[in-house]
Amino acid sequence: MLRRLLAASLCAAFALAAIPSEAQTPSPSAPAPSQPQAGGTLNVYNWSDYIDPYAVSRFQQETGIRVRYDVFDSLETLEGKLSAGRSGYDIIVPTSEPTFARLARANALLPLDRSKISNWGNQDPALLQRVAASDPGNRFGAVYLYGTIGLGIRTDRIRAVFPDAPLDSLDLLMRPENAHKLARCGIAVMDSAIDVLPSVLRWLGRDPNSTETADLRAAEEALLAIRPHVRAIIPSGNIMDALATGEYCVAMTYSGDVIQAQARAREAGRGVEIGYVQPKEGAQLWFDMLAIPADAPNPDAAHAFINFLLRPDVMAGITNHVRYPNAVPAATPMVDEAVRNDPNVYPTPEMLTRTFAVTSLAPAAERARSRSWNRFKAGR
């Protein structure tokens, strides 16, 4: 959240620097034949550092639509702006739960007109089926990128201090005796109740979406048992930075953040070796969705942009750049081999069966969960 504001503004500066200036945009003499001529300006609101800058400039060249690219650093920022109405954005990228589902229920999103998205069928039907839990009938969103929640680990250090560590399970973090062994090496948990509690419930063998007081209490007790060994409960962005520099041994966070930290650590070449653990007990699956606000000024351009992003070659470029998997199977052969064959980026079909999706809770249950989380953070 706010701790990430600084990082995010820097990222925004980089993102904008990387996108060629709007002045040199249209070359009307040679528009791509298949693209509709929507024209005008497209206001995109996406996560920071979450697109292939080349894709944006290519879209501008092919369609003559000017793209104004803006970034957010947390779902709360996005939802806050959208809830107030008249955000002025044409494309937003909310995560399936809770924000996308809530916005859809609040009538804040425009139903997608599939006749304008000829590439809609490029998406993996099995993944669309998973998203339908948040958006029945897939009316309001196309899948942009997705991932799981698990553990980012410093394999080299863990091997040294804890040779027989279970490197495929949430046991590594959630069993107090294991957490105790790794405490000095550094444990971090991302500061997000909705992204941590479901996995803990699943690890306990309970329903990840449970709102039962007894289940919540059990998850809280399990977390409190490891609390003395947890060094930091901070936003996921900070965890990514700290993982890359080798400050933590175990960190519970998003898969893509771990993969990015891994790449950065390799570039830095200081011998920091990072790995990702997708918990075998079941990992929380999330989807970042392409959606159009109900009051978008330029819905035609927004549809054209979604259609463009669902092209296999464009999607492959994005995955190569940000290292999150996409939901367009035809793109996979064009993804760099190292990324495509990394099961931590692209879960195998077998790994996908061991994932679960979350559903959004009623406000009272949401409040109970954030109270529980606060007690974990405070350690009492």
Partner: protein, 284 residues
Amino acid sequence: MRRLPLLLPTLWLVGFVALPLLVVLMLAIAEPGPGVPPFLLPFGWEGGPVLRPNWEPFALLVEDDYYLSAFIRSLWVAGATAGLCLLLAFPMALGIVRAAPRWRAPLLLAVLLPFWTGFLPRVGAWIGLLRDEGWINGILRGLGVIDAPLPLLYSDFALFIGMVHAYLPFAVLPLYASLSRMDLTLEEAAADLGATPATVFRTVTLPLVAPGAAAAFLLVFIPAAGEFVIPELLGPSDALLVGRALWQEFFQNRDWPVAAALAVALLAVLIVPILLFQRLEARR
């Protein structure tokens, strides 16, 4: 024509204080619900004007001790920050007043200088200094004083460093103003009549600067009580302050009425010291 000068402040107070306050009050008794924006107005028109206030947000604030503890913690952080600022600002202001006249302007400028840099970069600089791999830990390790990094960031220590750093100028300026208006001959007279420097300070200087000190305390205390950014960026993860609670209600629980009710409650709590201060002033 004589009333004209009053027009601007009146318009300002109505447009930028009274109206927004009214909107917040209205939100606090609205019904939360899905939609854009996520609430239903507490009044409407159904063949005639109807009023349907929802008092649940305020009931929740009273029932759930979570909010009370957030208030207590916020007031304690604000009070400690204001106290620390006073302790530091008093010698600073005294030093500036007693400095040679040609030094006064540059010294005052130095107090204000941090305002020339953005607020976030200054807090960001503290993060860079205090983090595990940061400057302070790096230097201490290099000197061999410590072998493991001190957990400086995300602690009460970092929180108060950030708060005092941000609010110190608000304490220095009113103290400087009241000290520079002080009649120095009164102190000299006391000293001539045999008072020791300590007695002079206690019986003459302190009572004379008390109003300035009270103003300085309030100027720091009031914004510090609602502070959100500094505890978020530097404070410990268990720092449950009102600003944080309000942020959670607004952004995470999407319950705008409860967030508005919290804002109203904070305002009500902060009005108490302001009224006390005014009564003190009136008595003088």
